[in-house]
């Protein structure tokens, strides 16, 4: 029975999550693309010479957060930076990617620090919402997302940290994950014995389960800012459509 539940989380639910994620993101994006266009400019001034450059800076360096909430800025940069490395780390769990090995490292990269950075950032995001006035502007979705992410990161990091911190290491080798993830990608899904036979199978299954939930919820949540932040900053900088009267 429990094996069946684990298998459901590790295989059918992963495909379902990927389908919901892709379909949801595409549908949400299409909904915006087919909506009537904002015809006039919504920019704020002064006008910048290179709106694209400024929009990229706004999106990826978030200078206004640095000025107004510097601690939040540190954790936001830390979180998003770690997230990029996390994605690279997971891609390397599928197969070797030579490009990423320009800086030689072991798989999973980061020596446990990525999980630590993410955990600390998420804890800061969560606890700062307990404080006035941020508590009052928060809605249940904010806590739900943070808890989901925290659970995903903690279960994932546990495996990573055990690798480095436990004298015996972690009993599931990288080859085990690679076999599992490759099988998913080639649509010949299987859970290899290295994972299924491990006493830590439950941890892997829970990690995958929380990640699935997060992916399925993402297209219907504020995390869509992943896709909208740059276009919106371009709108603000006058780099995306919006006609003013001809000068």
């Amino acid at each position: 029975m429990i094996e069946g539940i684990y298998y459901f989380m590790m295989v059918p639910m992963v495909y379902a999550a990927a389908a919901v994620f892709v379909t949801g993101v595409v549908a949400r994006s299409v909904r915006i693309v087919i909506a009537p266009r904002q015809m006039t400019t919504l920019q704020v001034f002064p006008r910048r010479r290179a709106p694209w450059v400024h929009a990229l800076v706004d999106t990826f360096l978030m200078p206004t957060i640095r000025t107004i909430r510097p601690v939040l800025w540190v954790f936001t940069l830390l979180f998003h930076g770690a997230l990029v490395l996390l994605i690279i780390g997971h891609l390397e769990l599928i197969r070797d990617i030579r490009l990423f090995q320009v800086v030689p490292h072991q798989v999973f990269l980061g020596g446990g620090l990525i999980g630590l950075a993410l955990t600390l950032s998420l804890l800061y995001f969560l606890f700062s919402r307990f404080k006035t006035p941020y508590r009052e502007i928060s809605v249940p979705e904010d806590y739900f997302l943070l808890l989901l992410l925290l659970l995903t990161v903690l279960t994932g990091s546990h495996m990573d940290w055990a690798q480095y911190l436990s004298p015996a290491g972690f009993d599931i080798p990288v080859t085990g994950y690679r076999e599992y993830l490759s099988s998913l990608f080639t649509i010949h899904p299987s859970v290899p014995a290295a994972i299924a036979g491990s006493p830590h199978y439950v941890l892997v299954a829970l990690h995958i389960f929380f990640a699935n939930l997060f992916l399925m919820f993402l297209p219907f949540s504020k995390i869509m800012h992943t896709f909208f932040a740059l276009p919106l900053n371009l709108v603000r900088r006058g780099g995306l459509r919006g006609a003013s009267t001809a000068p």
Binding site: R28, R31, I32, V33, A35, P36, R37, Q38, M39, T40, T41, L42, V44, F45, P46, R47, D58, M62, T64, I65, I68, R69, L72, P133, Y134, E136, I137, S138, V139, P140, E141, D142, F144, F220, S221, K222, M224, H225, F228, A229, P231, L232, N233, V235, R236, R237, A243, S244, T245, A246, P247
Partner: protein, 415 residues
């Protein structure tokens, strides 16, 4: 709430959901960076006066009526049904926001709260709950526009009475028209407000520059924009566009009215003529040497308040400072200024509605900002800001006067 009205409100809401609006409503992370941006919150720290809270009211309705999440799991995003009580909340959000867009400067995603509040204002109009005085003023503007052909002669007579006052500012060659009307192929069509204070200084300045100009029959102010009625906003602006096209003018210059300028410059799309603020025209005259100013005729310490719709939202930020550098050597900028300047607290129709008590309390931060530089003159380039700043200075007992920038220029004209 009656079902027919509910249905109509949802339809009107839906009509506002263009691509930018959908992204604004979908993206907020509730990080709270915008909280301190609002002058109302900075003056009266209550949650309901934050940009994020105001936008969240509309976002809650959006989730409930336009998103699957709001239908299937409403508590997750605090989705809210559109009820009579909710309309009251929408009113408070819409008319405690001056549409200054200072929060948009600070938001990491650039979410435009004024744009989101345009949904709120449209819902209020549809429900018949908007401030009636704004609708009345917008209707009057439209009505005046319709009857203009019959009243043109009277308008010309009234304008002619300004002759001596204009000549008092700038003595010109005998026989030239002091305030010209209906000038075909004029280089500039100047659009003033109803009062002579917005006509006399501009006329003197343009006459001093030897400009081929014409005064518009229509007033610049756009109450349609204040009340948030897109159809009326367009109707009011269209009268001026039609006149400019009829006269085949090269440029339409809007008087010191921030909203009128922004509507014509940035919200009417491509037009067959150039649109400028009169402040830009004055700066151009100075650059080209077409007018000269006597520096020092204006006595005392001068500061400048950037009107939100002219500066942050209109792009006219450096021209006023250039003009002031020619007017006085005793200029001090407010801190913060330009895009970061605090709103005066009178925008979004609040001055027209009255609301003096709220306007005074909610703009304490503006008064503090002015006090910090101890000016003798606070000058600005917007009618709305002028009224609000005058009220503020009286209320907070600041020993300064409020003046229009063009008035100071006209006073300092040098032969």
């Amino acid at each position: 709430m009656e079902q027919a009205l509910h249905h109509e409100l949802i339809e009107r809401f839906d009509a506002k959901l263009n691509d930018a609006m959908r992204m604004y409503l979908d993206t907020c992370a509730r990080c709270g960076v915008c909280i301190q941006s609002c002058h109302v919150y900075a003056s009266m720290p209550e949650l309901k006066y934050t940009a994020v809270y105001r936008a969240e009211i509309i976002r809650r309705l959006f989730k409930r009526h336009f998103k699957a999440q709001g239908r299937f799991w409403p508590t997750l995003g605090d989705s809210a049904e559109l009820t009579d009580d909710m309309v009251d909340t929408v009113y408070e959000a819409a008319y405690s926001c001056t549409g200054c867009r200072r929060c948009m400067v600070h938001c990491p995603f650039g979410i435009d709260t004024q744009m989101i509040m345009s949904i709120a204002k449209l819902l209020l109009i549809t429900a018949g709950r908007e401030p009636k005085v704004l609708t009345m003023l917008a209707d009057m503007s439209i009505q005046k526009g319709k009857s203009t052909p019959e009243t043109r002669a009277n308008f010309a007579k009234a304008v002619d009475q300004l002759r001596d006052e204009v000549l008092g500012r700038w003595r010109q060659a005998h026989g030239d028209k002091v305030v010209p009307l209906d000038v075909q192929d004029a280089d500039i069509l100047y659009v003033a407000l109803a009062g002579k204070h917005s006509m006399v200084p501009a006329a003197a300045i343009m006459n001093a520059a030897g400009e081929k100009w014409s005064l518009s029959y229509y007033e610049a102010v756009n109450f349609g924009a204040f009340v948030g009625n897109p159809e009326k906003t367009k109707l009011i602006a269209q009268r001026i566009i039609d006149e400019a096209v009829r006269l085949r003018v090269k440029e339409v210059s809007i008087c010191e009215c921030g909203t009128a300028y922004r509507v014509m410059r940035h919200m009417m799309g491509k037009l067959p003529f150039k649109v400028t603020s009169f402040i830009e025209v004055v700066a151009r005259y100075l650059e080209q040497g077409r007018i000269k100013l006597e520096q020092g005729r204006i006595k005392g310490r001068v500061t400048y308040h950037d009107p939100c719709q002219l500066g942050r939202n209109g792009g006219v930020l450096e021209e006023p400072r250039f003009i002031l550098s020619r007017l006085t050597s005793n200029f001090v900028d407010l801190t913060p200024n330009r895009a970061e300047n605090w709103c005066c607290g009178g925008g979004g129709g609040l001055v027209a509605i009255g609301e003096k008590d709220f306007r005074m309390r909610s703009a304490r931060v503006k008064a503090d900002q002015i006090k910090a530089v101890s000016p003798d003159i606070v000058c600005t380039a917007c009618e709305n800001c002028h009224t609000q700043l005058s009220d503020l200075i009286g209320h907070y007992k600041i020993n300064a006067s409020v003046r229009f920038l063009t008035d100071m220029v006209a006073e300092s004209l040098q032969a």
